[in-house]
């Protein structure tokens, strides 16, 4: 279980995350939704160790991981697929995937995981030798997902995976995320696409100006009048 306890994070004097507490149980899928600038990406950077929080704790399976370096957090199985994909464009698709299994434990299982990724994302096998930068946005997103899977994640965090994708591709991608969840991986989905994200998830959190404004079962949130008005335009 991944737990955030009253986490604060800022950039200089700018408070971005102002006391966020959440928990993600094993095997669960949660959605973190919120508008642009609500602090979603900053919160994820804090979880992944790219940014140190001012205060608060992040706990994984009883261990305080707040001050661990990013590589140690990845080694624990908490893996993020970043917004904008952040691929290595000049390297081939397969080289990108292989770099996902850079750490010791993932490296041992590299061959099997690669076979699993190609089975899950068969399009990547056809493009294996092509430079990742030459692929379309949707395909690049698949590479990013595959690369994340290569790290043998226990928790997979998706930051805005639908950004820049057509509605059709978005559906395909959400389908893949669902498959990953069904295979037993815990998923944290961060999205601006509030309706789709909540429909898929077990529970949801709504982030507003660095605070959790609402939380609960996805079905309840989707029926919440306030949420409907501010995020779904209904």
């Amino acid at each position: 279980m991944l737990t955030l306890e009253n986490v604060y994070a800022n950039y200089g004097t700018l408070q971005i995350i102002q006391g966020v507490s959440m928990e993600i149980k094993d095997g669960e899928m949660i959605s973190l939704v919120g508008s642009n600038g609500a602090g979603k990406t900053t919160l994820l950077k804090t979880i992944s160790g790219l940014k140190k929080p001012e205060s608060g704790k992040i706990i994984w399976d009883g261990e305080d991981i707040t001050s661990l370096s990013p590589d140690k957090i990845v080694a624990r199985g908490i893996v993020q697929i970043p917004e904008g994909r952040k691929l290595f464009p000049q390297m081939s698709v397969e080289e990108n995937l292989i770099l996902g299994s850079y750490l010791k434990d993932a490296k041992k299982k590299r061959k099997e995981t690669l076979a699993y990724v190609y089975e899950m994302l068969p399009d990547l096998l056809k493009k294996a030798k092509m430079p990742a930068g030459s692929l379309s946005g949707g395909q690049q997103q698949m590479v990013a997902i595959g690369r994340g899977l290569m790290a043998c994640p226990k928790v997979l965090i998706f930051d805005e995976p639908s950004i820049g994708l057509s509605p059709l591709l978005t559906d395909i991608m959400f389908e893949i995320i669902k498959k990953i969840k069904d295979s037993g991986t815990t998923v944290m989905l961060v999205e601006q696409n509030v309706q789709n994200a909540l429909k898929m998830a077990d529970r949801g959190y709504v982030l507003e100006q660095g605070r959790i404004a609402m939380e609960g079962l996805s079905a309840d949130l989707l029926n919440n009048e306030e949420l409907k008005k501010s995020y779904l335009g209904i």
Partner: protein, 289 residues
Amino acid sequence: MAISITQSLIDGLLMGGVYALAALGVSLIFGVMKITNFAHGALITVGMFIAYQVYTSFNINPYISLPITILIMFFIGFGIQKLTINPIISAPSHNQLLLTQGLSIVLENLLLVIFTANYKSVLLPGFDKALKVGSISVNKPKLIAFGLVVVASLGVYLLLQKTDVGHAISATSVQREGATLMGIKVPKINAIAFGIGVACAGVAGALLAPIQYISPTVGEGFQLKCFVIAVFGGLGNIWGAVVAGLIIGIVESLASLALGGSWSEMVIYLIFILVLLFKPTGLFGKKTR
């Protein structure tokens, strides 16, 4: 005339190889850390003195002692990065420039203290006679240097293309955050890349030792040349640096044939200015994003 041009082309190409390897180091370091190493020239000199000291103390010639030089230089680079550059990795670039320039001054003066300012040389018996091919003569140490440069560059190429650490270096240089999120320890990769870059400088220095006189300040000329070549090839593009190094070597040699030795440097910097004016990303540089 045709013979002297051929001769000059060969000389230039051979020297260009050494420049290429040294500049490859500058470009690799820049690619990974976005820092221009202005201590590179001084580190070339350190390589020369290692070769010199091993030769005078143990009578092992610089070609044989090359693996030792590589090892020592790698750890010097690794250490310099960990101790001095890592703490300022996110500082503004003028601070980083001052730091590497400062390192250069410290290294030069350390060498002055240890070895004094007297010129030294490594004279290898049996290597002093030029190789004659028709009316072209080829300086043996230069020829060997070129051969070893090819081997060393190939080594760097294989390291970057075929090993996990190499892939991590390439990944870090194009996408630092993406690399971090895959569990790559970027600070460690920075130090390894700096070590490899410095080892390139060291190899260049060791190979230059039998070719020219050795003194603590001799690296200054190479420093500027390496920088020019790295920019010419597109900063961060290490294979661009190799090609640019060969070109600069040939241009220098032909210019000194046509205009005289003192003009050759001017031609190089003239090219540098033209590159900066008309193609600031270098011959093979990517467009800036």
